[in-house]
């Protein structure tokens, strides 16, 4: 399979720079997989697990939340708000965040805004847990 150059630039700096075979991630419009020689393309990223297949065929997972994906003249750039490789994810923290969000959502008196916020937190925690080494993908 032909390879292409991928850069992942998040708010915390450069997370990845190198040759890869394919990248699959969740956009606001559903899952998208980019292969080499893709047409110029731009979309906004949703929340989900990103799978990057390296040039040597190994696959790495990452929790990828928010931001933008752009393909320009064969150069693929991902600008996620947060990008965490599966091995860097702090599972204990994600689980604690999940428990906290679930606890908040139990409150029947919660106003709409706070509910939306807690749901977003819960979703992010689930994405993190799902993207970690042992987790199942969160669908």
């Amino acid at each position: 399979m032909p390879n292409f150059h991928l850069q992942v630039v998040s708010m915390d700096g450069l997370d990845f720079d190198g040759e890869v075979e394919k990248i699959l991630l969740r956009t606001i419009d559903g899952d998208v997989e980019i292969l080499a020689r893709h047409t110029d393309y731009c979309t906004a990223i949703g929340m989900g697990t990103a799978r990057v297949t390296m040039a040597d065929g190994t696959e790495r997972k990452a929790a990828c939340i928010g931001g933008m994906l752009s393909v320009m003249k064969g150069e693929v750039k991902v600008f996620p708000t947060t990008w965490e490789w599966s091995e860097d994810i702090d599972i204990a923290r994600a689980k604690a965040a999940k428990a906290r969000a679930e606890e908040r959502l139990k409150d029947q008196m919660l106003d709409k805004e706070a509910r939306v916020r807690a749901e977003a937190k819960l979703y992010r925690a689930l994405v993190r847990i799902g993207s970690s080494d042992h987790g199942q993908d969160h669908q």
Partner: protein, 287 residues
């Protein structure tokens, strides 16, 4: 003489212990500063590419429309996001920023602020300026997801019956010795839509936007704003540390000078009292 000598000795001790504290604060600020500066620099490429994409979308599409780029002249409701510190002892860091903001909002009638940082909340509460939310009173604890909430709050209350202009005030890090309060416009993103496409004779690149360019644009704007907020908070934090370092350095120097003058005085007094004692003894022996 003996009484005043004791007082001077005590004073030297107290100045010395103050100096220890200011010296420690200076060292702590200096070591934290490097990290903070790095963090602020790291998020720059992200912002630059976001802005480039937004500009591309806005200029390539002739019939492009978004509420985030429309300038509404008749809407005179202003929102100021003011990023200050949590603590004092940083020289003029907080007060310079507040003076600057006061100048900015002086001749605007309908101003609301969104203070970030404890000092900022206290200041605007004291001045009775309407506050949007007091939730972000701890600037040191602002995470990326907090910035998102702020950004969503701003985007949600912008346009329609809400705010017509959103400004961000923070302290820009110019150098180790100079930090300048700055205001930038967050919304509307007016400089994007006015930018005419430069025709260089080449056919333009066709980019596929999914689901469509407007949706992508409107989805990216809050992320872009959150990015700006996060970066500005990091820059402000670096400025705060630099200001604190400079202030504490000056305080340590002052303390050193004070100790020097006081010890000189103390030694003179000690010498004088010894001389006097000798004179008294000699006078006694002669009699």
């Amino acid at each position: 003489m003996a009484g005043s000598m004791k007082a001077v000795k005590l004073r030297i001790k107290s100045v010395q212990s103050t100096m220890q504290i200011t010296k420690a604060m200076q060292l702590v600020a200096a070591s934290k500063l490097r990290k903070a500066k790095e963090k602020a620099d790291n998020s720059k490429p992200y912002l630059e590419s976001m802005l480039a994409t937004l500009t591309d979308i806005a200029t390539e599409n002739t019939e492009f429309q978004s509420i985030f780029t429309q300038v509404s002249e008749d809407n005179d409701r202003w929102l100021y996001v003011v990023i200050a510190g949590d603590r004092g002892l940083a020289g003029g860091y907080n007060s310079n920023l507040f003076k600057f903001v006061e100048q900015e909002i002086k001749d605007k009638t309908n101003v609301t602020v969104l203070p970030i940082g404890k000092k900022s909340v206290e200041f605007f509460k004291h001045r009775n300026v309407p506050i949007l939310t007091e939730e972000y009173a701890e600037v040191a604890k602002m995470t990326i997801s907090d910035c998102f909430q702020v950004s969503k709050l701003i985007c949600g209350s912008y346009g329609g019956g809400g705010f017509g202009h959103v400004f961000l005030c923070y302290t820009n890090f110019v150098s180790m010795l100079s930090q300048v309060p700055t205001a930038t416009s967050l919304l509307p993103l007016s400089d994007l839509s006015t930018g005419e496409r430069v025709s260089d004779g080449k056919p333009r690149d066709l980019i596929l936007y999914e689901p469509d360019s407007e949706t992508v644009f409107n989805a990216i704007v809050p992320e872009y704003l959150a990015g700006i907020l996060y970066t500005s908070i990091n820059i402000s934090y670096a400025s705060e540390l630099a200001a604190r370092r400079t202030a504490m350095e000056a305080a340590t120097d002052n303390a050193e000078e004070m100790i020097e003058t006081l010890s000189l005085y103390y030694n003179r007094a000690r010498q004088a009292s010894i001389t006097q004692e000798i004179t008294e003894i000699v006078a006694g022996a002669e009699n």
